[in-house]
Amino acid sequence: MSRKRDITGGLFIGVTAFSALLIIAVIVILLVVIIIGGKGTFSWEFLTSFPQDGMMKGGIFPAIYGTVFLVLIMSIAAVPFGTITAIYLTEYASEKSILAQSIRFAVRTLATVPSIIFGLFGLGFFIKFVGGGMDNLFLGGQLKWGQPSILWASLTMALLTLPVVIVSVEEAIRTVPREMREASLALGATKWETILRIVLPGSRSGIMTGTILAVSRGAGEVAPILFTGAAYYLATLPTSLSDQFMNLGYHIYIMATQSANVDKTLPIQFATTMVLLLLTFTLNLTAVIIRARLRRKTK
């Protein structure tokens, strides 16, 4: 009887362990396959040169440049707003107020809205409404802002990454001990001074993790920029905010599904995927390590 129990028990634990192992195995296989496929083409030149011969040869520099540009503007928009929202939720709002709860609900909803919806919103709101409105107001109907551009793509992406920033900053702010705040207040500092001098410096690592995670998410997402600013091929780099841009993820998507000769460009595709994967992987790994350190500190 007890022996039979042991066997079922061992089997059950084995099955759960196998599931966990399966996930790890898939992660490893994915990484290894992409790296093996892309290693041959990958070089410094690949990173720093333009595509040639209708993308059959050459590098991916404009795609990298566009991605960095996108992520930069996105962070400028998302990080301050995310941080301030997190400050509100932790420092000002009382936990049970309806307002705070609805903001929390909105943030979680934002995190679960499919990324393609952000793309639609970017098109309907930023490009058509804001951009079109700006054109009519300042340029007399001349088309400049009312079309897909890197600015609108970045702002769309900022909305998508806002919850990422809010969640990690909030977590970090909660690690600042209450005694520090009380000491500051007791010494005569106002609430705002306390936040500025005590709470924010104490949660710097959280703001950093939030930014890193947001950057990694923004670099990898393609759906929101499909029709808000990404371009298939551009001969020049984007110089102003109203230009279109090339993007790593979009480049992969186009090359893999719509290029004239998919087989011939396969090494380039693998190498591009490898660059994107390693970029996001490194960023996420950094965030995981910083966060693990933070958690250990608070324990």
Partner: protein, 373 residues
């Protein structure tokens, strides 16, 4: 009240100890509160603007009558067909083009019945044909719904058991060091861009599965579903794990004290106690798969067929938006229909999230409190 506070400066009275009015404090608080409102505002704006673009479908009846007089019935010559085939060939795969043409040829009789008018658009939404780029566009959403549901089902059949069992392993059986390794690893999987997973599915998994099962179309619902499972696993795992570890120690201790073994406790005590949380995890996983665009675009073949066969190509709602929005004319019926699909996606994921949030969490809290006291 605040303004009276400054009178007796050196004597601490009830009044002087009250908070002074400071402009900087006041402003900073108001600004911070205002910014915090932004998240709510964004949700409302998304709701409003995505819906706004769908309105033309419902308003077009009058205009349609005018347009119909101007536009003459087009002929279905070989030229028109060739043009259409080319344009759809750009975004779809070989299989699709063939299918589109087959359907096109099969139904010439219908052409005269519902021609061109936008009044027909509303009716055709319930149809079984999704042919937006043809001389006589039809916007039947049924194949898209079937495709999306099929792929969601396949993805959840893979993702839910694997993720829940792995979470149980991590929460109940794994030694500390292994858990500390497993959780970040799955966080890293969550960070994989969906375009990378889609590329992996398209280039590697599709061939691999084709060799195993030996079906015809390389890209189909099965490949797409398995790839989407990879995207859903981290979500389901994380939330399930949280739910499992949130269960009070008294539960497991009582079970162990009564002589149950570790696995019996995990299977018969911990897991049932966490069911609301697991339910929420599955709901959010479904939401993720339902709205996933890039994997669907790259790995499912994108032919709008409504069959039950898992090894046939499908076209999901999200992928349809992603593939067609870039080539559509602003303000067109097609454009509005794509926004309509978008609003449906949004409403669906919004309700899933709301359900997971309120119903499930309320239940979980009540259960723990009710049983503990």
């Amino acid at each position: 009240m605040d303004n009276n506070a400054g009178h007796n400066r050196f004597v601490f009275t009830r009044d002087s100890l009250k908070k002074k009015f400071r402009l900087s404090e006041f402003l900073s608080e108001k600004i911070i509160t205002g910014v915090a409102f932004l998240s709510i505002a964004i949700i409302v704006l998304i709701f409003f603007f995505v819906f706004r673009e769908t309105l033309p479908i419902f308003h077009q009846k009058k205009e349609a009558a005018k347009v119909e007089n101007v536009v003459k019935p087009e002929k279905y010559g070989s030229d028109a067909n060739a043009g259409k085939t080319n344009s759809s060939g750009q975004e779809q795969y070989g299989v699709t083009t063939k299918d589109t043409m087959m359907i096109e040829n099969k139904t010439p009789a219908e052409d005269t019945v519902v021609h061109g008018s936008d009044e027909a658009t509303l009716k055709s939404l319930a149809g079984t044909q999704w042919l937006p780029v043809s001389d006589r566009p039809r916007y039947g959403l049924i194949p898209l719904f079937v495709g999306t549901l099929k792929i969601t089902l396949i993805a959840m059949l893979f993702a839910a058991p694997i993720a829940i069992l792995a979470a149980l392993f991590s929460a109940a059986f794994a030694p500390y060091w292994l858990r500390e390794l497993l959780k970040p690893a799955i966080e890293l999987l969550a960070g994989f861009p969906s375009v990378v997973i889609g590329f992996f599915a398209l280039m590697v998994m599709a061939t691999f599965f084709q060799n195993i099962f030996g079906y015809d179309g390389r890209l189909n619902a099965f490949v797409g579903g398995v790839a989407m499972a990879l995207a859903a696993i981290p979500i389901i795992f994380t939330i399930t794990e949280d739910a499992l570890t949130a269960i009070p120690h008294t539960y497991t201790e009582a079970s162990l004290a009564l002589g149950a073994t570790r696995w019996q406790t995990a299977l018969f005590v911990t897991l049932p106690a966490a069911t609301p949380g697991i339910f929420a995890a599955i709901l959010l996983g479904i939401g993720r798969v339902f709205g996933e665009t890039m994997i669907a675009l790259m790995a499912t073949g994108n032919a709008a067929l409504s069959s039950i066969n898992p090894f046939e190509s499908v076209r999901t709602l999200a992928a349809t938006i992603g593939a067609e929005m870039a080539e559509v004319v602003f303000g067109d019926t097609h454009y509005s229909v794509l926004f309509l699909i978008g609003s449906m996606l949004f409403v669906f994921t919004f309700s899933l999230n709301a359900l997971a949030e309120f119903y499930v969490k309320g239940k979980l809290v009540k259960r723990f409190q009710g049983k503990q006291s």
